[in-house]
């Protein structure tokens, strides 16, 4: 034992009969292992969340049962859950592509709001007359929303690429600017009778919902799931192909894993920073467009700027930046947000999201290191 002391003096305190060693994992863990670790982390987070709810004077078990019932209990609420999941899916895709390059775009919230603004501008300016058929209206609004979001992502992208400005802070500051900008238009220009909202969009500018087909298929009566879900899933599949099956995606992953190697390989990092920030912004903007044309049907700050951009960060991380996994995870978080609206105290969903993210990040350790338990006696 005295020999060891010279090697590792900091581990000398022998209070326990065994000791934990952390060894870097050299081999790939089995496929089920990361999934099990993530699930374990979520379970652990729910337990901690429960303790915190208890401390705040709530009933944790009733809260969780309520969340499950109020979000998956029937076809109707399941549909509502999916409606909540749609914007989260699109913002999480926005975060996935940027984070894959280790480009920390946390401005998805602002890009989301700007996407909603861009789409609304088509109706409210009006760029297209109110009686435009839906098959023209909706594609134009999709383009406008993605363009506005891309523009909002472009600004921090250019600043990062050419002035080396920290994109975390610049993209976050753009969130606040976006909210003030949209508020100005909602309050000062497009207000309906002085209220904090614009007039409702004409029906042909709404994304089609399941309940629109209730006459043909009675099962769809009252279901508000809208076309945004399809947009989100299509975007997820395309993004998966870009990241894992295209040359561009390879470049993005290489820059993320090892920027120096990427530079030596002749990859243009500056150009990729700008492009990825634009793509990320466009995806978030699509989310904003889908929310405003599929759910709210008018431009109004509070239901649009509800923090979907931030939830997207957590979902992207939980899905290990895999767009297809993000579809499933965003449905879980949609449930959390939907059911959380009625839970007291009202900050509970936000807090649980925070606890989950903390536990997830901590659990990543188990993927990179192996824990070996050594009895103190054996060692000498």
């Amino acid at each position: 034992m005295s020999e060891n002391s010279s090697v590792q003096p900091s581990l000398q305190k022998r209070r326990f009969p065994f000791r934990l060693y952390f060894e870097p994992r050299l081999e790939e863990p089995p496929r089920w292992y990361p999934v099990a670790v993530s699930l374990g982390a979520i379970l652990f987070a729910l337990i901690i969340g429960g303790i915190l709810i208890k401390l705040a004077g709530g009933d944790p078990i009733r809260s969780y049962i309520h969340i499950a019932e109020a979000s998956f209990g029937s076809v109707g609420v399941l549909s509502d859950t999916i409606v909540k999941a749609t914007p989260i899916l699109l913002t999480s895709l926005a975060c996935s592509i940027a984070f894959r390059m280790r480009l920390w775009n946390i401005g998805a919230e602002g890009q989301f709001i700007m996407g909603a603004f861009g789409a609304s501008a088509i109706v409210l300016t009006p760029v297209l007359p109110a009686n435009t058929p839906a098959w023209i209206f909706i594609p134009v609004m999709i383009l406008a929303g993605m363009l506005a979001g891309a523009l909002w992502g472009l600004i921090p992208g250019l600043l990062k690429a050419f002035f080396n400005v920290n994109e975390i802070i610049s993209s976050l500051m753009m969130n606040y600017i976006a909210i003030a900008w949209v508020n100005f238009w909602v309050f000062a220009v497009w207000t309906e009778g002085g209220f904090q909202m614009t007039r409702q969009f004409p029906k042909n500018a709404w994304l089609p919902r399941l309940l629109d087909y209730a006459k043909a298929i009675p099962l769809f009566r009252g279901l508000t799931t809208h076309l945004g879900l399809v947009l989100g899933i299509v975007a997820a599949v395309i993004l998966w192909f870009i990241i894992y099956r295209s040359r561009w995606g390879y470049e993005i992953r290489l820059i993320g894993d090892n920027p120096r190697a990427a530079q030596y390989a002749g990859i243009n990092i500056t150009r990729n920073v700008v492009l990825v920030m634009m793509l990320s912004g466009a995806l978030a903007g699509l989310g904003g467009m889908s929310e405003v044309t599929g759910v709210v049907h008018r431009l109004q700050t509070s239901p649009v700027a509800a923090g979907y951009g931030f939830t997207g960060i957590i979902v992207a991380w939980l899905a290990k930046l895999n767009p297809l996994v993000a579809i499933l995870v965003s449905i879980l978080f949609g449930a959390l947000i939907l059911a959380g609206r009625e839970i007291q105290p009202s900050g509970v969903p936000k807090m649980i999201q925070g606890v989950i993210l903390v536990c997830l990040i901590a659990s990543d350790f188990l993927l990179r290191y192996r824990i070996r338990v050594v009895r103190t006696g054996e060692e000498s």
């Binding site: 600043l159 400005v165 600017i177 003030a180 931030f310 999201q353 606890v355 990040i361």
Partner: protein, 323 residues
């Protein structure tokens, strides 16, 4: 003239919040740990300070609990990044979410709490008589503002002129060398992340018990934690520059609030008074200004080849090749 003095005086008070937060972040980052959770820690601080002050009637007890609570929650980030070697950016973000969530849950109903005794304000005799500067810095200022004045030279002296400060810098610049000299890199990083948390908590308490009293959920901080993180880059990890930046920002925030009040501005009808919606553009200014300040700071750093502490953002793993 009096109007300018009033704005600058209030600006110093509101800049004190940014001062505490950015000083804390400078100290944590100097040790090599970037903590993006400032906003979350400030929310925890603001909520617990106000809540304790409401329940006990003692604002100082509130401040104490606030700094301890924020310091405590900063240790989650410390554990995840220092011991578990996780990415500091993501962990800091997570801390922001966690801090915001916990303070929303525990602060439920606090906004409707009754009156609360706040931290005292007073004038410094003699100093407040200095023309122009006296009323700005030393007249009717909150006790927190004066504490802020003390912290600027203290932080600078500690970092640049003392032995523990040298260890702090060594741990942030070249942890492997510091380790070889027998400095406990892990313990020091934990400690300075804790100090950063204490100061963020103090910043939060300064908001809720002095500068703009009350608890308004996430609007209490309104992104000031992030502005503080941006200021650190502008300040190039120097407490004195951070102070200049903080007070400038504070004055800007006040100017934006005050400019919408008068009917006349420089003898002309005040456009912001007659078109209140233009206020939304005024609201953008601090955030746009943060971006501009970042551009200036980043360009200057590139030109002078100044940079962040060399080990900022990288976990120290013993035995692995340092830097």
């Amino acid at each position: 003239m009096q109007a300018i003095i009033n704005i600058l005086q209030a600006g110093v008070a509101s800049g004190t919040v940014l001062l505490f937060a950015s000083l804390g972040e400078i100290i944590a980052e100097r040790s090599g740990v970037m903590n993006l959770g400032v906003e979350g820690m400030m929310l925890i601080g603001a909520m617990s300070a106000y809540s304790v002050a409401v329940k006990t009637g003692s604002p100082w007890l509130g401040v104490l609990v606030a700094i301890l609570a924020a310091g405590l929650i900063s240790q989650i980030h410390a554990y995840i990044t220092i011991t578990l070697h996780a990415d500091q950016v993501v962990s800091g973000l997570a801390l922001t979410f966690l801090g915001a969530g916990i303070s929303l849950v525990l602060g439920e109903g606090l906004s409707k709490a009754g009156t609360v005794s706040l931290l005292a304000s007073f004038s410094v005799p003699l100093l407040s008589q200095i023309p122009f500067l006296g009323p700005i810095f030393f007249k009717d200022q909150n006790v927190m503002v004066y504490i802020g004045y003390l912290f600027i030279p203290l932080a600078w002296y500690f970092i640049n002129r003392t032995r523990p400060g040298m260890h702090l810098r060594a741990v942030g610049e070249y942890p492997a060398a510091a380790d070889a000299l027998g400095i406990n890199v892990f313990r020091l990083r934990y400690f300075y992340v804790f100090v950063g948390g204490l100061l963020a908590g103090l910043a939060g308490a300064t908001i809720s018990l002095a500068v703009s009293p009350g608890w308004f959920s996430e609007l209490t901080t309104g992104g000031q934690g992030w502005i503080a993180v941006g200021l650190v880059i502008f300040a190039q990890w120097n407490p004195v520059r951070a102070a200049v930046g903080s007070y400038t920002f504070g004055a800007l925030r006040r100017l934006i609030l005050d400019i919408q009040g008068p009917t006349l501005l420089l003898g002309f009808p005040n456009p912001f008074y007659y078109n209140p919606y233009w206020g939304f553009f005024l609201q953008m200014i601090p955030y746009a200004f943060t971006i501009i300040v970042l551009v200036i700071g980043s360009r200057e750093a590139m030109r002078k080849r100044l940079g962040a502490p060399a080990a900022l953002g990288t976990p120290y793993v013993r035995g692995e090749r340092g830097l």
